[in-house]
């Protein structure tokens, strides 16, 4: 098993340039070249790049949380459903009557709360993360449907401040892309520069060793899920801004996308290893593929087939690269 250094600090600083991310970067560049060749006029425009980032933002924020959970040895299947629940709760008429700030706080609180419940069930109720968060997925979707009466809830004009996150631009870039960037940077800092982050690796890599070293692994595990829920809350704000609605259908299958991005980014499902940068690169690959398909107007079946192949090739590229570096 030739695995690269996960934590050598020089590597970490280098970030994008790291060996284990090189494959992903190469895959991204290749995709970009394909984009340039096939649709030069549309692909290389600022507006298209902004559009890719905007598309990536919602899932991106969730992916940051998912990276923490997975490095910590867990898994969170409930992310999409929790985001939906947060968006619905924040857009009920009752909440909307308090204005945009309360709505945003509400979304974040609901997300964090649901994450906390996951965390309690897993850390103290000792449920397997897969099952606990699956139950949360199901229950949160049900609750969201019940709250919204299965209707899409529009954000009222008084609260259009939220929508402004997606329409207001700073230097040509919508605010929500900045929020995405901020979450990524914060996530990176917490993971790499704080005791919380380093302990996350320990809890995921060798929980017994972490416990023997005096780390409260239960509390830490609980916090990881709360963090993931918190990210879902932020994502709920972004999806509300983007769609101007709260709905129980938001975030369908986000869990698969987020986990796939994390894994393709080199984080092990077994925990203890991984990076935020890898996850975000993985996510961008997926988003870029979709964007290219949109631009080229491929039909869905071919798209799916191509997507499958691209995923395999991207990962093989990454693996090959790793192998050469660390025989």
């Amino acid at each position: 098993m030739s695995k690269p250094a996960a934590i050598s600090p020089r590597n970490r600083l280098a970030g994008l340039g790291e060996a284990r991310h090189l494959g992903l970067v190469v895959a991204l560049v290749l995709l970009a070249v394909v984009g340039l060749v096939t649709k030069f006029d549309n692909f290389a425009t600022t507006s298209n790049i902004v559009s890719i980032l905007t598309l990536a933002a919602t899932i991106g924020v969730i992916t940051v949380g998912a990276t923490f959970v997975i490095i910590g040895g867990g898994i969170d299947l409930s992310v999409g459903a929790v985001m939906a629940l947060a968006s619905v709760w924040a857009t009920t008429l009752a909440t909307q009557s308090y204005g945009p700030w309360v709505m945003m706080i509400c979304a974040v609180l609901v997300g964090t709360g649901a994450g906390l419940v996951n965390g309690l069930l897993i850390a103290y109720g000792r449920l397997v993360p897969f099952i606990a968060t699956l139950a949360m997925l199901v229950a949160a979707r049900g609750l969201a449907q019940r709250m919204s009466d299965r209707k899409t809830q529009l954000i009222q004009t008084d609260n259009s401040a939220i929508v402004d996150l997606s329409t207001t631009r700073l230097l040509g870039i919508p605010l929500l892309v900045y929020i995405f960037a901020l979450v990524v940077v914060l996530g990176w800092v917490v993971l790499n520069r704080t005791t919380f982050g380093r302990r996350t690796y320990a809890v995921g890599g060798n929980p017994e060793a972490a416990r023997l070293a005096g780390i409260n692994i239960r509390r830490h595990t609980m916090l990881l899920y709360a963090l993931s829920g918190f990210c879902c809350g932020i994502a709920a704000i972004l999806i509300m801004a983007r769609t101007t609605t709260g709905s129980s259908t938001h975030g369908d299958l986000y869990e698969l996308d987020a986990i796939a991005a994390v894994i393709i980014g080199g984080t092990l499902l077994t925990g203890g290893r991984g990076t935020i940068i890898g996850s975000i690169l993985g996510l961008l690959i997926f988003t870029l593929i979709t964007n290219l398909f949109i631009l080229n107007g491929l039909n869905t079946s071919d798209q799916l087939i191509a997507k499958g192949l691209i995923i395999v090739v991207a990962v093989l590229l990454q693996r090959r690269n790793l192998k050469e570096r660390a025989p």
């Binding site: 559009s51 598309l55 999806i239 769609t243 979709t290 398909f293 949109i294 039909n299």
Partner: protein, 327 residues
């Protein structure tokens, strides 16, 4: 496009009868029509996509530009954004959810691109130039009337009426159910039980199998969608039940053949024809070229067109067979 040469579906060809000698079909200025719809994982939606493409192919002055169909709101928004930045002359949009895509449709209109809203409606009239779609409420009403009348004629009191819906979170499902209930009420009947499936054969099959267990004797069953109807019929056959009459929805070829056979429990289906996509493309072309509908007096295309839901029974099925879509 890179699509395989579409084996022009018989249904689309049939739905586009020889050009009327009105002059409207004479080649005009060249127009680019963008098209965005949900992912074609369903016979009816697939027929929509195919009809749209086939209709566009009939005109030498139309360049058809479909984007990746998707069931993710976020991605559909991006897809439409990409069409806006590609500066198409008209947009035909079948949104996953009208409310959630309202914002981006507004953007398109603001960018001077006329939006032809297909089927699922945008709440904001500013968001589209013309709406064309089926009548979901009317569809429920048609099914309700058919069932109500049949049962009344048989003199059944307190009938057990079962409803199998499509995806519960779609507004169209809620409209259909409301129409159904309202029509039944006029006969003094009400729905005994309803369950939602997911528009697929398999979900139709399992929901029906369980519903048949829950109700040992049924008088009538309305299934919202002929795609899932294949599964529903299989479940009915498997259970060996035939004491009730069944009504379908949408009007697939398969359902019509069942009706025609006369031996099936399926006695009727209420239409919700995907031919509306062909019409939408035609309308988009006219609007983009600044033409009106030659059969009408007005110089411009009307603001909204609602298709009537018709009831297909053994008596009139011959007439509808050419319009049936393959599910």
């Amino acid at each position: 496009t890179s699509n395989e040469p579409a084996a022009a579906p018989s249904s689309a060809a049939a739905s586009n009868p020889a050009p009327a000698p009105s002059g409207n079909d004479q080649p005009g200025t060249k127009v680019v029509i963008g098209f965005s719809a949900p992912a074609a994982d369903h016979g009816w939606i697939a027929a929509i996509a195919k009809n749209a493409e086939a209709a566009a192919k009939q005109f030498s002055d139309v360049e058809f530009k479909p984007v990746e169909p998707t069931n993710d709101i976020n991605q559909q928004i991006s897809a439409v954004e990409s069409l806006i930045s590609a500066k198409v002359n008209a947009l035909v949009i079948l949104p996953n959810d009208g409310q959630q895509l309202n914002q981006v449709a507004l953007e398109a209109t603001a960018a001077g691109i006329p939006v032809i809203n297909l089927d699922r409606i945008f709440p904001d009239k500013l968001a589209y130039r013309t709406w064309i779609g089926g009548d979901n409420y009317g569809m429920g009403v048609a099914a309700g009337h058919y069932i109500g009348k049949q049962l009344k004629d048989k003199g059944v009191a307190n009938p057990v009426i079962v409803e199998i819906q499509g995806i519960a979170t779609l507004p169209l499902t809620q409209d259909r159910s409301k129409g159904f209930a309202d029509a039944l009420k006029s006969y003094g009947f009400s729905v005994t039980a309803k369950q939602d499936a997911k528009f697929t054969v398999e979900t139709g099959n399992s929901v029906a199998a369980s519903l048949l267990q829950a109700h040992k004797k049924i008088d009538a069953l309305w299934n919202h969608d002929d795609d899932q109807g294949v599964g529903v019929l299989a479940a009915i056959k498997e259970a060996g039940r035939s004491e009730f009459l069944m009504v379908g929805g949408a009007g697939s070829l398969n359902a019509m053949k069942e009706i025609q056979s006369g031996t099936s429990v399926l006695k009727a289906t209420v239409t919700y024809s995907p031919t509306m996509a062909s019409s939408a493309i035609k309308l988009a072309r006219l609007i983009a070229q600044g033409k009106g509908m030659s059969d009408l007096v007005e110089n411009q295309v009307p603001q909204s067109i609602t298709l009537a839901s018709e009831t297909i029974t053994k008596e009139n099925v011959e007439k509808y067979l050419p319009l049936g879509f393959e599910s």
